[in-house]
Amino acid sequence: MKPHSLLRTIGLASVLAMPLTSLAQTPNAQAEKIYRLSLAATCANCHGTMGISVPRVDIPKIHSLTAEMIYDQMMGFKSGKRSGTIMPQLAKGYTDEQIKIIAEVLGREK
């Protein structure tokens, strides 16, 4: 699948399946934004605020990854296809929908 179509799929899926993220504009767009940022902020302790790591650390950097790459890696950790130290254990704590949101928030544009 091409990046664009997957991103669209993720986007569309969240509209259909994730009511928390599908709120329209107006005050509730603000609530949605805070919800999404808060969820992604659970990653920031290790990967940096908004996924931007400080320089010269050995934790894998995620801010250079696209949303679909983050989504794929997280789903790989969750399913056991991808090995790791701590991430397979953490990825299993999130729903697929939460992983989509995190990927959308932290992934770089295209």
Binding site: L20, T42, N45, C46, G48
Partner: protein, 425 residues
């Protein structure tokens, strides 16, 4: 679920748990003054994320007596002489410079929850609309007879809040004779940093093995068994520190005799040692206890977990080590940082008349150094369970390292540098 449903659920949950949503507010986000007390992992993160999640519109003041943040995580490396305290020290300037947070170098002497004011140690008083308390832990010195006096005499110290005591404890170990005994008592859980004492034992043993190989480390644990990463630590003790570390569980320390350098226990015989690292039972930070907010057995603060508001006082929120924990929730710096983000989002939403997230998530990651290079972790993910109004670990998630590794040693330093930036920069 549609938008109305989401709002309905959020409002219903909050209505049940805090009664805040739907109640008219006196202040909006822009005009409210949010005062954060304590700039450790919890308070600093709360202040920063209040700014980030409000698009920099919230007015946030931090009350903190120290000029620098000193990390407790990794401070056992200083106790063991592997690192200097400077490597764990970050000035507080980033919060002011990067986020416009007002830093007041002071501490809080008293809280008036009715008038919504705090009295600072300097005498000044300050009004708040929302008060966030993140004072860390308190040491229940009176639970161990003679401990306060032994501390005063410079015989014992805790070094359980990183800083000068951390450096002083290393000095005591460095000055100990070869063949001496380092004894550490551990209080019954819950206490700050469950694996911390066992990591400390490793670090002290690592130092002694290289510098004073005839010496011993005695772990005298009030808990019946190692409370965190037990199998991993025991394997390291049996292999890497064979003949140096001795673990004894179920020993409740009751008194310390500074003159004879001995520790007394409920049942067991006295233990004499050259260096005494006595960790008494712990409680919420002194401010929380003094303000009457430690309403769980007079020791910890009960909070509503959706917004970390005290169950004892409106508009006072408490995060970090001071709270009565949810099941499986450790008292750790990482967890305090995660509390802070849930709290910041909730306060921004409340002050903006927006529904508070009814499904917050928390993670915990804790790395322990077993020597100067190799590390083991424990990790967990916690979800809010509305039906029980508490956080619970997500089934199937979390876990431990299979064994110590230098790769996780590098990750531990990466974690530290990123969480320091996430909290302070």
């Amino acid at each position: 679920m549609n938008r109305r449903h989401f709002l309905g659920q959020g409002a219903a949950l909050l209505g049940l748990s805090t009664g805040l949503v739907g109640v008219s507010r006196a202040k909006s986000l822009k005009s409210a003054h949010i005062v954060v007390v304590g700039a450790g992992y919890g308070g600093a993160t709360a202040a920063k994320y209040l700014k980030l999640l409000s698009d920099n519109t919230a007015q946030v003041t931090i009350i903190e007596p120290n000029a620098n943040f000193i990390s407790c995580p990794l401070s056992n490396l200083v106790v063991g002489g592997v690192e200097k305290i400077d490597a764990l020290t970050t000035p507080y300037t980033g919060l002011e410079k990067n986020h416009g947070i007002k830093m007041v170098k002071d501490s809080v002497a008293a809280i008036d929850a009715q008038k919504k004011t705090i009295q600072l140690a300097s005498g000044q008083s300050m009004k708040y609309d929302k008060l966030v308390l993140s004072p860390g832990i308190g040491m229940m010195m009176d639970k161990i007879e003679g401990l306060a006096e032994a501390n005063k005499a410079g015989i014992t110290l805790q070094a359980w809040k990183a800083g000068p005591e951390t450096v002083a404890l290393h000095k005591q170990i460095a000055e100990m004779k070869d063949g001496g005994v380092f004894a550490m008592t551990i209080p019954l859980a819950p206490y700050r940093c469950p694996p911390g004492p066992y990591e400390r034992a490793c670090q002290v043993a690592n130092y002694l093995k290289k510098n004073k190989p005839k010496s011993k480390v005695l772990i005298l644990d009030a808990n019946p068994d190692v409370t965190s990463k037990g199998a991993l630590f025991k394997k390291v003790w049996a292999e890497e520190y064979k003949g140096i570390i001795e673990y004894r569980g179920g020993l409740v320390a009751t008194a310390v005799d500074a003159k004879n350098r001995s520790i007394k226990f409920e049942v067991d015989d006295d233990v004499k040692a050259d260096v005494l690292n006595i960790l008494p039972p712990m409680s919420a930070g002194d401010l929380v206890v003094k303000a009457g907010l430690a309403n769980a057995n007079g020791r910890w603060a009960n909070v509503h977990y959706l917004n970390f508001e005290s169950t004892a006082a409106k508009d006072i929120h408490i995060i970090g080590d001071s709270i009565q924990i949810a099941p499986g929730m450790p008292k750790s710096g990482h967890m305090a940082n995660q509390h802070a983000k849930v709290l910041a989002a909730a306060i921004v939403c409340e002050l903006s008349d927006l529904p508070v997230n009814p499904q917050p998530m928390l993670t915990n990651t804790c790395y322990s150094f077993v020597n100067d290079r190799d590390v083991v972790h424990v990790a967990s993910v916690h979800q809010y369970v509305a039906a029980e109004k508490t956080f619970k670990t997500v089934p199937g998630s979390g876990g431990l390292s299979p064994e110590p590794s230098s790769k996780e040693g590098l990750y531990a330093w990466g974690w530290a540098k990123n969480i320091w930036a996430d909290s302070l920069a």
